[in-house]
């Protein structure tokens, strides 16, 4: 959908599950983007805290949709389904965008018409309200990292027709699974060398979390290797 200003509409999908503490800051970071036009779609994946109230306070600035608890993949897919934009972006409810994120990324699409997806750099930060003792236990890389993360992505909408939607069977690693499928069919990607997203750290992982995470990722990699071998 192009507007009179000849800029493409970007749909920003924010899935949320029990993230009342950080959701407002995430939404605000989208509202203050210096790119227009945008639409914000908050998909509430069955939150039981005040996330719904936080989202609804933004009124028409952020469209709110409630989903029976189904997982983050289902929430992102629902957002894609509701989106009107020719470009899709995502933001996790606990992350934040820099103000010129969309402007930077959409400018790249303007220069390269055959490009499918743009990422940007990501910086981690410890959530400031945390007690110092917890902050000390959180490993927070200082350096900017390539943001291969939904929160740092803008994609043409048709990428999801070609690569498919997010698989809903993975507990973690659903984005890597999707990216691998997109990669396998030759979706073109650029990593912008500029900071676009701030990733909030506020929990530590433990051994059981790590083991489940590792096993899940290995299964995703195995599935990708098997697809490539069959192709």
């Amino acid at each position: 959908m192009n507007t009179a200003e000849n800029q493409s509409l970007v749909s920003v999908i924010i899935p949320v599950y029990n993230c009342e503490r950080y959701l407002a800051e995430a939404i605000e970071s989208v509202i203050i983007q210096n790119y227009r036009p945008i639409e914000i779609i908050v998909i509430d994946d069955g939150s039981t805290d005040g996330s719904a109230d936080v989202a609804k306070k933004f009124g028409q600035a952020a469209r709110y949709c409630f989903l029976q608890h189904s997982g983050i993949s289902a929430a992102r897919n629902r957002g894609i389904d509701l989106a009107h934009g020719t470009f899709i972006a995502f933001l996790d409810a606990d992350d934040i965008w820099v103000q010129n994120k969309l402007a930077l990324q959409m400018a790249v699409f303007g220069k390269k018409s055959d490009l499918d997806m743009v990422f940007g750099l990501l910086k981690h930060f410890r959530s400031p309200e945390l007690p110092e003792t917890l902050k000390a236990n959180i490993n927070c890389p200082d350096e900017l990292m390539p943001g291969y993360s939904p929160s740092a992505l803008v994609a043409k909408r048709d990428v999801f027709s070609r690569a498919g939607l997010f698989e809903t069977n993975w507990q973690v690693g659903e984005f890597i699974d999707w990216f691998l499928r997109a990669h396998e069919i030759g979706i073109s990607v650029i990593m912008l060398p500029e900071l676009v997203t701030l990733r909030r750290l506020y929990k530590t992982g433990d051994k059981s979390t790590q083991n489940a995470y590792f096993s899940n990722y290995i299964k995703i990699l195995k599935a990708s290797l098997d697809r490539k071998r069959r192709a």
Partner: protein, 159 residues
């Protein structure tokens, strides 16, 4: 290679899982992942049990239809490759080494039908290296993104 050596997985960031047809390894410190076939998977299981190299050779020769000199050479190459990739480190055999169990199993395996041996190859993939390095689980509890309300684990870390 010093045959009295045994090996162990280098650190907790090395993940591994065996499937019917292959072993997949992931080094979450580097973002590289690897695949190796059945022989490599078997060798990895021996590494995981701290079996010394000398016993590894015996066990492989008992399990597979192979010339033991060739087994020793290919094992040396494979172990060197695993070390080079930072997946295993060497250590001297210790009390935790499953030497006796490995010896007993080797005897049993000699009486069963042997498998065909293919020298283990470590296939390395770096196509999504940076993606794997961006740790996505900063906000994930034991169950991942919580799936059911009843499964949600109370979070005692946030105040």
């Amino acid at each position: 290679m010093d045959k009295s050596l045994c090996f162990k997985i280098a650190n907790q960031k090395i993940a591994h899982e065996s499937f019917e047809d292959e072993l997949i390894l992931v080094n979450f410190d580097t973002g590289a992942y690897y695949s190796t076939g059945k022989a490599g998977s078997y060798i990895w299981s021996l590494i995981n049990r701290n079996v010394p190299v000398a016993f590894m050779i015996k066990k492989i020769c008992a399990r597979y239809e192979a010339n033991c000199d060739e087994v020793e050479k290919s094992l040396d190459v494979f172990l060197t490759e695993l070390q080079k990739e930072g997946l295993i480190v060497s250590e001297t055999a210790n009390r935790g080494s499953d030497v006796e169990g490995a010896g007993e199993e080797a005897k049993t395996e000699r009486t069963t039908e042997k498998f065909g041996f293919e020298a283990p190859i470590l296939q390395k993939y770096t196509d999504i290296q940076e993606l794997l390095l961006v740790d996505p689980i900063h906000g994930v509890n034991e169950l991942g993104w919580p799936y059911k309300k009843s499964d949600t684990v109370p979070d005692s870390q946030n105040t």
